[in-house]
């Protein structure tokens, strides 16, 4: 699944216009606890979260994640977007809840990866 497809499935707004949306995403992780995210390594993953602070980007960066989805309409601030841009991480926001967003991506074939 590509980042563009995620935008479409989640009816999301892309907040990092320069991101390469043709990149493939192979796994997904949905959590507001960054330590739980750090416990499970996945390749080319997307992180779905309702947490809205710079540590979300830092966590995604450490995990080599390629995309962050803020659920429930969360709007990250400029600092978060600058951090993500500098690391080539695509950031988007969707009005959907975590459960619905994860469910729709799962329905379309995305899985949780190892762990």
């Amino acid at each position: 699944m590509t980042i563009s497809q995620i935008i479409e499935i989640l009816n999301a707004e892309l907040l990092t216009p320069d991101a390469d949306c043709t990149r493939e995403v192979h796994a997904a992780c949905g959590s507001d606890m960054m330590s739980d995210v750090l416990a499970y390594v996945k390749d080319q993953a997307v992180l779905l979260t309702g947490l809205n602070n710079p540590q979300v980007v830092r966590t995604a960066d450490m995990m080599d994640m390629v995309c962050i989805v803020f659920v429930r309409g969360k709007q990250p601030d400029d600092m978060i977007l600058r951090l993500a841009n500098a690391r080539g991480i695509a950031v988007m926001t969707t009005d959907m809840t975590m459960f619905t967003a994860c469910g729709l991506l799962y329905e379309q074939g995305l899985r949780g990866g190892v762990g």
Binding site: M33, M34, S35, L38, V41, Q55, R58, D61, M62
Partner: protein, 142 residues
């Protein structure tokens, strides 16, 4: 200690949680430039990032010393914070003394030390209440 080792030092501030992770991000970038294996870089990054978060949350900041040799990355995290009364308890997954404020930031789930051990090939922690804590981690790169 190898003579041709690369040595780095970072200071982690204890009063600005938003900056926790800067050292890990810098080290990750340097290791990439050195061409180390991606798996090893990820292990180092996650282990050090959790350590940085711990320094910021629990110890009011601290110091990180890194030594990069031909076959490993060795990290020493030291602080003069409150110390850990029961290390075996602190190493249990899910056990945490982090306040609600920290939990609201996405940490304090009791996974920090377990994750640091999980991603390290060598892990050692020494702590004394009222004195501080020293964590030593090494990740093999060959």
């Amino acid at each position: 200690m190898a003579d041709d080792a690369i040595r780095l030092h970072y200071t982690v501030p204890g009063d600005d949680f938003t900056r926790a992770g800067e050292a890990s991000a810098d080290l990750k970038s340097r290791l990439k430039k050195l061409g180390l294996p991606p798996t090893a870089i990820r292990k180092v990054s996650i282990a050090l990032y959790e350590g940085e978060i711990n320094l910021a949350i629990h110890a009011h900041g601290g110091d990180i010393d890194v030594e990069i040799t031909d076959d490993e990355v060795r990290m020493t995290l030291s602080d003069d914070g409150p110390g850990i009364p029961d290390i075996s308890l602190a190493m249990s997954e899910g056990w945490s003394t982090a306040p609600d404020e920290v939990r609201s930031l996405g940490f304090g789930a009791g996974m920090g030390l377990p994750n640091m051990k999980k991603y390290s090939d060598e892990f050692d922690i020494q702590s004394a209440v009222g004195v501080g804590t020293t964590v030593k981690m090494a990740v093999r790169t060959t």
